[in-house]
């Protein structure tokens, strides 16, 4: 588990830092760029002058007369190209961007109008617009070649037009980045907002919207909001009308698993214009832990439903992906649909996995799996792994 925030034990910042967001630079970074850069002191050489902030791994190396922050042990993994935010005094640090990570998600707010039973990022009601401001600064610091960026919450669309502006900025400054925004989709029921979204005109942008039922009662219960299903579906339709790229996400747990085939059929028949469907395994953190009795289910118990759901979608040419499921817990026929999707900072493995011949193809576990994991985890011997995927592979 890679830490993403920390508290500095030692820092020397005489005046409040003029900015919150800093990109980390080191000796190899291009010399002229200084604005918004924090120099990472490593090794014995004298650090160059001209930076507004210095980060040190070893307090002994802290430069005299310059603002510096010592990285706590958990944040020693940081390196040039990463981006952090620092509190005014420099005490509190958050990692906003890990350049080595294949996909970074930027938190825009912790506010949300839903209260999902299994929410991995439990909502908070306080105003946190500064997260949006940080995101803007982050985008300005990232290299033009950045290949991908994700935006999450809470519910990002609470920002309305300011979100649209941010996405426009992102499109203009990071023209090669695939942009993936997570949203409950309800705001798009307002056709004007869906149009504004479309007006960003970023062909690399996609919105991921969860659906937890084929009808209102189940979905509304899972997200704990009456009227959610109706609005979300209308939002998805509007996005379809303005030809936006959509991913439907279904978190598979105890409540949704029995209805998985119905949900798949509903999507296939009513929302066939979506670009892809992601069937996702449960992350045992946040509310999922609190509601474990209501949401935990061993994935082997919904094998039939998962098979059926994939068949109903994939056979009708809707791109279907299975996220966050360990390979040993699902049918061999479904392996071609699996994606190694756990963000690298959450990745862990079970002792059983040491001997497993397909460990490199498997997504592994969330760190939070230590709280609950199937007892059916089993290493796959090499000869079994060689079996060809069956007819379902289209």
């Amino acid at each position: 588990m890679i830490a993403l925030r920390g508290r500095s034990a030692a820092f020397s910042v005489d005046e409040p830092l003029g900015r919150a967001v800093w990109m980390i630079a080191d000796r190899r970074s291009p010399a002229p760029r200084r604005q918004g850069m924090a120099f990472l002191v490593e090794g014995d050489a004298e650090p160059p002058g001209g930076f507004d902030l210095y980060l040190v791994k070893d307090v002994e190396r802290a430069p005299e007369g310059k603002p510096w922050i010592a990285l706590p042990p958990l944040l020693q993994h940081l390196s040039a190209g990463d981006v952090i935010s620092a509190s005014e005094t420099g005490e509190h640090l958050r990692v906003l961007w890990r350049h080595r990570s294949p996909m970074n998600s930027v938190l825009l707010t912790e506010r949300c109008d839903h209260y999902c039973l299994m929410c991995s990022q439990p909502p908070k009601e306080r105003e946190d617009d500064w997260l949006l401001d940080n995101a803007r600064e982050l985008i300005r610091l990232l290299p033009r070649s950045t290949p991908g960026i994700g935006f999450t919450g809470g519910e990002p669309t609470i920002y309305g037009d300011r979100l649209i502006e941010l996405l426009g900025l992102c499109r203009n400054l990071l023209p090669h980045a695939g942009v993936h925004v997570l949203s409950n989709g309800r705001r798009f029921a307002d056709f004007g907002f869906a149009s504004s979204w479309a007006a960003v005109r970023n062909p690399r942008m996609m919105v991921g919207i969860p659906l937890y039922g084929a009808e209102p009662t189940l979905h509304d219960y899972v997200v704990q909001a009456a009227g959610a299903f109706d609005e979300t579906v209308r939002g998805i339709v509007n996005l379809g009308e303005v030809r936006q790229r959509i991913e439907i996400r279904v978190v598979v747990h105890k409540q949704t698993a029995p209805a998985l085939p119905e949900i798949a059929e509903f999507i296939a028949r009513n929302l066939p214009f979506v670009e892809q469907v992601a069937l996702m395994g449960l992350e045992m953190i946040g509310f999922a832990r609190a509601n474990m009795d209501d949401v935990w289910i061993d994935p082997t118990e919904y094998g039939a439903e998962l098979n059926e759901a994939v068949s109903l979608l994939a056979r009708r040419r809707i791109k279907t992906m299975i996220y966050n499921h360990q390979l040993c817990l699902i049918d061999r026929e479904l392996w071609p649909f699996t994606v190694r999707s756990i963000s690298d900072w959450k990745n862990e493995y079970h002792p059983e996995c040491v001997e497993c011949s397909v460990r490199d193809r498997c997504g592994g576990f969330f760190f939070s799996a230590k709280y609950k994991v199937s007892d059916k985890i089993k290493a796959i011997p090499a000869d079994e792994a060689a079996l060809q995927p069956a007819l379902l592979d289209i």
């Binding site: 209260y115 039973l117 084929a214 009808e215 209102p216 009662t217 189940l218 509304d220 219960y221 704990q224 009456a226 299903f229 109706d230 579906v233 209308r234 339709v237 209805a259 119905e262 059929e265 509903f266 296939a268 028949r269 009513n270 066939p272 509310f287 609190a290 509601n291 059926e308 068949s311 109903l312 056979r315 009708r316 040419r317 007819l391 379902l392 289209i394």
Partner: protein, 484 residues
């Protein structure tokens, strides 16, 4: 201290339900319900009664199924009507894109003499039965007046290769004209392949032309159906298929079978024959009651019940092959399954409503007469001009497409307003065939209780539904066919 509400908190306060449009049929103690978009569900008789009388609780697994399939909704739910609208619109989208298929009968000459042939043959030696270039040009005028973004020009006959020179002209002129119109333009030649030459193959390769041929099954069956001097129709067809695959590509040749009485006991052999020739699928076709078939009484030999056995056995065999890993498709089922399992309309002209005559496909005869369909042209050959829409030399596109000869059968046969069809739960899977009904019963609508078209289709729908609901492997294969 939990802020989470129980599932009960999200149930409606009252069991206030609105019905959305649906139709039903009783099937062996259960009830088939189809919604406005053609989505189906099977209910127990009791469940159906509760639905019919709206004796439904605020929540139950039945209620959830009915809501998910847009058979009921709560007042105030917007999504169901939005989605039904979307699905209906998708289903009828093709109407704005008439006419997709333009058939040019370039020659009536043919050297085969098949008893069931819908095309009246004339002998090989006269040129009186070839289409002229002038007529073909007028045909192309009609073609590009059609709004359809995708246009397929199909050359038929007789044996169209007997007038190959005209085919070359039409293809080249069509492509030239298309530089302005920018349609997705495709060509097909429907030929018995006996006259296939390297010159023809070369031309087809250069212009990306597809070949459609006839293959009735094993040699003895095929040759019996298709007499030609030399008695080698099958050998020529098979050799032709091989040559086309190798010269143009495996997907550039398709075969159509015709079913005769002799075929009815041999479906497995016929499927095997298709498999051997490397064809990826087969269309299990009923015999149609037109042309020489009626004259030579081979239609009267046709037995609807035996054909159903033929179809069921053929489909079962094809599913068995799929189980063994052979990806073979049954195309008739595939057309119907698309209508059952998706919102798309495959546009198979014999199974659409409004009918495919004129608006799905149109026929330009060698002499310039314009017909609403192949079969309509056949009736004219037998003296009945009912489906003659006009003539290329004297009538404009508007004259032809708004003629009474076209509009009357379209309107009268429109299933959602036809007796029995308008109530039928299978209607979304079915179509109107005004030409068939006119030929067999004298009017465009026909009397469905007596209609073999109706009986056959109903039996097929029931069979496919039965397999879909009860055989998981068949279901997965069917979903794949529907999704193609």
């Amino acid at each position: 201290m939990s802020k989470f509400k129980e599932a009960e908190a999200f149930l409606p306060d009252e069991a206030e339900w609105e019905l959305l449009p649906f139709r039903f049929e009783r099937l062996n103690g259960r009830v088939l319900v189809t919604n406005m978009a053609g989505e189906h569900l099977l209910l127990g008789a009791d469940e159906f009664d509760r639905l019919a009388h709206k004796q439904l609780p605020v929540d139950s697994s039945l209620v959830r199924r009915l809501r998910a399939k847009h058979v009921i909704r709560r007042p105030g739910d917007h999504a169901p009507t939005t989605l039904l609208t979307l699905k209906t619109r998708t289903r009828y989208k093709r109407l704005a894109h008439s006419t997709g298929l333009h058939i040019f009968v370039v020659s009536l000459r043919c050297e085969h003499s098949c008893p069931y042939c819908q095309v009246s043959r004339q002998s090989r030696d006269t040129d009186r039965y070839d289409m002229s270039l002038e007529t073909a040009e007028r045909g192309l005028d009609m073609v590009f007046r059609s709004p359809s973004p995708a246009i397929k020009i199909e050359f038929q006959g007789g044996e169209p290769l007997l007038n190959f020179g005209l085919i070359e002209e039409v293809v080249q002129r069509a492509k030239r004209r298309n530089r302005e119109h920018q349609r997705n333009l495709g060509f097909v030649i429907a030929t018995n392949l006996a006259l296939l030459s390297d010159e023809v193959l070369d031309f087809c390769a250069r212009h990306d032309i597809y070949i459609s041929t006839s293959l009735d099954g094993p040699a003895d069956l095929h040759n019996k159906n298709r007499p030609r001097p030399g008695r080698d129709s099958w050998e020529k067809a098979v050799e032709g298929i091989r040559r086309v695959r190798e010269a143009l590509g495996v997907d550039h040749v398709s075969a159509l079978m015709t079913t005769t009485r002799a075929s009815l006991d041999r479906v497995r052999e016929i499927v095997d024959c298709y498999l051997e020739q490397g064809l990826g699928g087969i269309f299990l076709r009923p015999l149609s009651p037109y042309g020489f078939a009626v004259k030579t009484k081979s239609y009267s030999a046709y037995d609807a019940e035996r054909w159903m056995d033929f179809y069921r056995e053929g489909l079962a065999y094809i599913l068995e092959l799929n189980r063994q890993g052979v990806e073979m498709t049954e195309y008739l089922s595939s057309v119907i399954l698309k209508k059952m399992l998706t919102n798309r309309e495959p546009g198979y002209v014999d199974l659409t409503s409004p009918a495919g005559i004129g608006i799905g496909a149109i026929v330009y005869n060698y002499d310039g007469a314009v017909f609403a369909s192949d079969e309509g042209r056949m009736l004219a050959e037998m003296g009945d001009d009912t489906f003659r829409l006009g003539h290329l030399a004297t009538d404009s596109y508007e004259d032809i497409m708004t003629s009474e000869a076209l509009l009357a059968p379209l309107e009268e046969s429109f299933a959602p307003s036809a007796p029995m069809c308008s109530d039928c739960a299978f209607e979304p899977f079915c179509g109107s065939d005004p030409v068939y009904h006119y030929a067999t019963s004298g009017d465009f609508v026909g009397r469905k209780p007596e209609s073999d078209f109706c009986r056959r289709n109903t039996a097929i729908f029931k069979h496919l539904l039965d397999l879909y609901e009860n055989d998981p492997f068949a279901r997965s294969v069917f979903l794949g066919w529907a999704g193609r």
